[in-house]
């Protein structure tokens, strides 16, 4: 029997919906269906080949029935936008152990048009509902924005460092015709943008879109018989962690504990060092997250993340290309963005990305979920 991270599990299909953006003609499930169909086509597999299934946002059985599949392995792990990264990790374990052979993981969300979308509710039955929601912490911009001023202060950074994140990622988005915001911008323009939740201005907050994305996974043995046989993408490291749902109870505002732990687990399981990572995706719901991410993942020292980005290291041509689709800030963000980060990493590893980075052989994908309360990490490689 193979083990989780020894390269015996591959992502053999990866795709998005035909369009992303404003799609009022699609329900959330219809977006999931189109993404799944495209991912299976990309893999050269059919619906009846799927024997494992994972999703979130809606119930896995509800979605499986809608898609007309009959899985013998099911995962509905719901830890926010990084759920799909956790699903990939769980699917790798399932495939390695023989619990499933072909796993479909799907995301579809009508984040902009709200068609067929489950309601978002916070009730007084939860600690967040009792102790944070009543004080006005009702929007992601406020919850994820709340620790940022302390983080910037302790790290010797400022609001300007948040703007540099936007400027750098917009350079990637400018290369991507599917990106929602493609016009290059400046620090001054970002800082003078419409105020949303100080220290965030509008371009420091993710775009809000409709769309879907999906991946298909199977064993390395099966992958050799499939369409992408000469473009393997192997799962060689992963991690998943959780923390308090209450932002006021973060152990420190200067670090996202679940991210730090999940990334550490992923590095340890892969045996890779930071210097061996060619490409990086950090779930960027807001401009603060790539700064936290670079530091918590250990790619920069604490306090060096802003300078690292301002110096151009994460831009096209830089030594650590980051969020190369434009990210949630400029490309797309349906609400649970994680699957789009995975799909972009797969494309880079196959050499099929819109803004292709030369010679990518490893990619690190970092997700966050339920604000700072959950995290999942993947290390993917095309090395055979």
């Amino acid at each position: 029997m193979s083990t989780l991270h020894d390269g015996q599990v591959e992502i053999v299909g990866a795709a998005e919906t035909d369009e992303i953006g404003r799609l009022p003609g699609y329900s959330a499930l219809a977006l999931a269906q189109e993404a799944a169909r495209n991912a299976l086509k990309d893999a050269g597999l059919a619906w009846q080949d799927v024997d494992g299934f994972a999703t979130t946002l809606y119930l896995p059985h509800e979605a499986a029935y809608y898609l007309g599949i009959d899985p013998r392995w099911i995962d509905g792990t719901a830890v926010g936008g990084c759920s799909y990264l956790a699903h990939v990790r769980h699917a790798a374990a399932a495939i390695a152990s023989g619990a499933a052979n072909v796993v479909l993981i799907v995301h579809g969300e009508s984040g902009r048009s709200h068609i067929g979308a489950p309601p978002y509710e916070v009730t007084t039955n939860s600690p967040v509902g009792q102790f944070e929601y009543p004080h006005g912490l009702v929007a992601p911009s406020l919850v994820l924005g709340l620790p940022v001023l302390r983080f910037l202060h302790e790290r010797g950074m400022s609001q300007r460092d948040l703007a540099e994140v936007v400027v750098a990622q917009r350079e990637w988005a400018a290369l991507n015709p599917r990106a929602l915001k493609r016009r290059p911008t400046t620090v001054k323009e970002v800082l003078e943008g419409r105020p949303i939740a100080y220290p965030f201005t509008v371009d420091m907050c993710c775009v809000v879109t409709d769309g879907g994305a999906a991946v298909v996974m199977t064993s390395a043995g099966r992958a050799r018989e499939l369409k992408q046989a000469d473009r393997p993408v192997k799962v060689i490291g992963s991690g998943e962690r959780v923390d308090s749902m209450m932002v006021s109870q973060m152990p420190t505002a200067t670090s996202m504990r679940a991210v730090t732990q999940s990334a550490r687990d992923a590095f340890a399981s892969s045996g890779l060092s930071h210097a061996e990572i060619d490409h990086l995706m950090i779930y960027d719901a807001f401009a603060s997250i790539p700064l936290y991410g670079l530091e918590d993942l250990g790619f920069t020292e604490p306090g060096e993340s802003g300078k690292f980005i301002a110096d151009g290291h994460t831009r096209p041509g830089g030594k650590l290309p980051l969020n190369t689709n434009g990210g949630g800030l400029s490309y797309t963000h349906t609400g649970m963005y994680g699957m789009f980060a995975i799909v972009e990493a797969v494309r880079q590893l196959r050499g099929q990305a819109t803004a292709q980075v030369p010679n990518v052989s490893t990619s690190f994908v970092q997700g966050i979920g339920s604000m700072h309360a959950a995290a999942a990490s993947l290390i993917l490689s095309n090395r055979t």
Binding site: H135, G136, V138, L142, P195, I196, P199, V247, S248, A253
Partner: protein, 82 residues
Amino acid sequence: VPSSGRGSVYSFVINQIDMPSLLASAPSVIAIVELDEGPRLAAVLGEVDPTPDGVQLDMRVVAKFEQRAGQSVPYFVPETAR
């Protein structure tokens, strides 16, 4: 933990857009207050200018309570405000 109701601003965010579901209208300041006894909690900051220069990290604050739907809800104001 018994508390004196005094503490300091650990971090804050200024809500700058009106959302119908918000209980405090924009602009308003929401903070993580670190009580002198140690615990942290989220609460609205009252009697401050809701602008980037109107609130400072580590600013000293003290708890007040407002009655809302039969419940006593804490918020904090600058120590100098009373």
